[in-house]
C-alpha cells in the first residue's frame, strides 16, 4: 500500500473519528479505505443508471438471459475444443 497525505474538512474527520471510537473501524485509515471502496459501488450504480435510462427492466433482463445462454454455449464449445 502506498502512503498519501490528504487534507480533510474538520467535520468529516470528526465523523470518521467517531466511527473509529464506536468500533465500526479499527482505525482512520481502514475507515477511509472502506469509504473509498463503497464509493465505487455507488459510482457503478450512477453509470449504469445512465446506460439503462428509459429502458424497460423486464425486456432488458429477458434479453440478458438470451445473451447468457449464448455465452454459456460458446464457453462450453471453447472447453471442448482441442
Amino acid at each position: 500500500m502506498e502512503k498519501v497525505q490528504v487534507r480533510f474538512p474538520r467535520e468529516d474527520l470528526k465523523k470518521i473519528e467517531k466511527e473509529v471510537k464506536e468500533g465500526k473501524y479499527p482505525n482512520k485509515s481502514e475507515a477511509i479505505r472502506d469509504k473509498v471502496r463503497k464509493s465505487y459501488i455507488l459510482e457503478a450504480v450512477v453509470q449504469m443508471r445512465r446506460a439503462t435510462e428509459g429502458i424497460d427492466r423486464e425486456e432488458a433482463l429477458e434479453k440478458l438471459e438470451e445473451h447468457r445462454t449464448e455465452k454459456y454455449e460458446e464457453f462450453k464449445e471453447s472447453e471442448s475444443a482441442p
Partner: protein, 140 residues
Amino acid sequence: MKSSKRARVLLDTSTLFSALGWSGAPFEVLIKINEGNSDLVLTDYILDELSDHFRDFPPERREHALESLEHLEEASVIKESEWKENLSRAEELVGESKDAPIMAAFLTDRVDVLVTSNESDFPVEDMEDVQTPTEFLEKL
C-alpha cells in the same frame, strides 16, 4: 449455513444488473451490502456476461455500462481458475445451463450467500444460503 465473520454475498447476473440499473429490491440489497457488514462478491464470468450483453447498447450507453463494470472490479472477484474447479459438480446440480458457472462460484469457499430471483434454479443442500432479494432484506 456457510459462515464467516462478514457475510460474503454473491449476486447472480440478473440480480446484479437489476440492482445497478433500476430501483427495487435488488438495488436495496446492493445498498445494504455497501452500508453494512457484508461484502459483495462477483465473478469474472458474471462481469463478462454483462459486458457481452452491452454489445447491443448504443455507443454512449455502452460506454456508461462498461464504466459501471470497471467500478465493480473493486469488489471481491472470483476468477475462472477458482470457480472452474467446481464446474462439473455445479453442472450435476443445475444441469448444463447458463447458471452452472454461478453455481460453481457459489460452491467455492469464498461465498456465504447467493442472492438470486430464481431460487429454484440453484438447488443446494442448505437453501438458507440461496435467497431472493426480498428474503435477503428480510433477514438483515
